[in-house]
Symmetry: C2
Subunit: 114 residues, 2 copies
C-alpha cells in the first residue's frame, strides 16, 4: 500500500519516443507558471501524445519526460507556434540552462506491486 497519489507513466509497446527535458531555472520566473500550464494543455492535443512525467529537486533541477507514439507527433509539437514562442521566452528569461534528449524507445517494462 502507498499513500502516494502519483504513479509514473507506464510502459508502452516499443517503438515510441521520449523527449527528456532537463532544466535549471533563473530567478526570473514571471509568467512561467501560466505558460507551463498552457503548454501542458497544448501538448495533450498533439495526436500521438502519450503522457508526461515531471519531477524537481529542491535545488532546482527539473526533469520532464514526454512520451510520444512516433516521430511525427514530436515534429508536430516542435513546430507548434505557441510552443516555439514559449521556448524563445524560456531562453530569454526562465532557463539558466537546459538539455533536450530525443530518443526512440527500444524496450520498456513496468512493475506494479500486487
Amino acid at each position: 500500500m502507498s499513500d502516494h497519489p502519483e504513479a509514473p507513466v507506464g510502459a508502452f509497446e516499443p517503438p515510441y519516443y521520449v523527449a527528456v527535458f532537463t532544466t535549471v531555472r533563473t530567478a526570473e520566473q514571471s509568467g512561467y507558471g501560466e505558460t507551463n500550464a498552457r503548454m501542458e494543455d497544448l501538448v495533450r492535443e498533439v495526436p500521438g501524445y502519450l503522457g508526461m512525467d515531471h519531477a524537481q529537486t529542491p535545488g532546482g533541477l527539473g526533469i520532464t519526460v514526454g512520451y510520444f507514439r512516433d516521430a511525427d507527433a514530436l515534429t508536430e509539437w516542435r513546430h507548434n507556434a505557441e510552443h516555439r514562442a514559449a521556448q524563445q521566452r524560456g531562453r530569454a528569461e526562465w532557463y539558466q540552462s537546459y538539455t533536450l534528449h530525443v530518443a526512440k524507445v527500444e524496450r520498456s517494462h513496468g512493475f506494479t506491486r500486487a
Copy 2:
C-alpha cells in the same frame, strides 16, 4: 545568474542511450539509501557510462535518467550481479511501482545562459 548549484547533464553526440527510470516508493525504505548510494558508485565504473540526472516530487514520484554511450554499456549494467540483487530487493520492498524506458537518442541539444 543562478543560485542553483545543480546543472543538468549536457547533450552528447548522438547516438547514445538513455535509461529513464520512474518510480513511486513504498513506506518500507529500510536499506534503500545505502543501496542507492552503492548503485550510484557502481554505475560510474561501467565503461560507457556518461552521467545521471535525478529529481523527485514531494508526492513521491522519482525520475532517474542514466546516460550511456552505447547498448553494450547498458547491457553490462543490466547484468551486474550487485545491481540485479538490488533490483530484486527493490521489487520486494522499496517500490510501489516503476517503469523503465530504454531509448536510443537521435538528437539532442543544450542551452546555457551566457
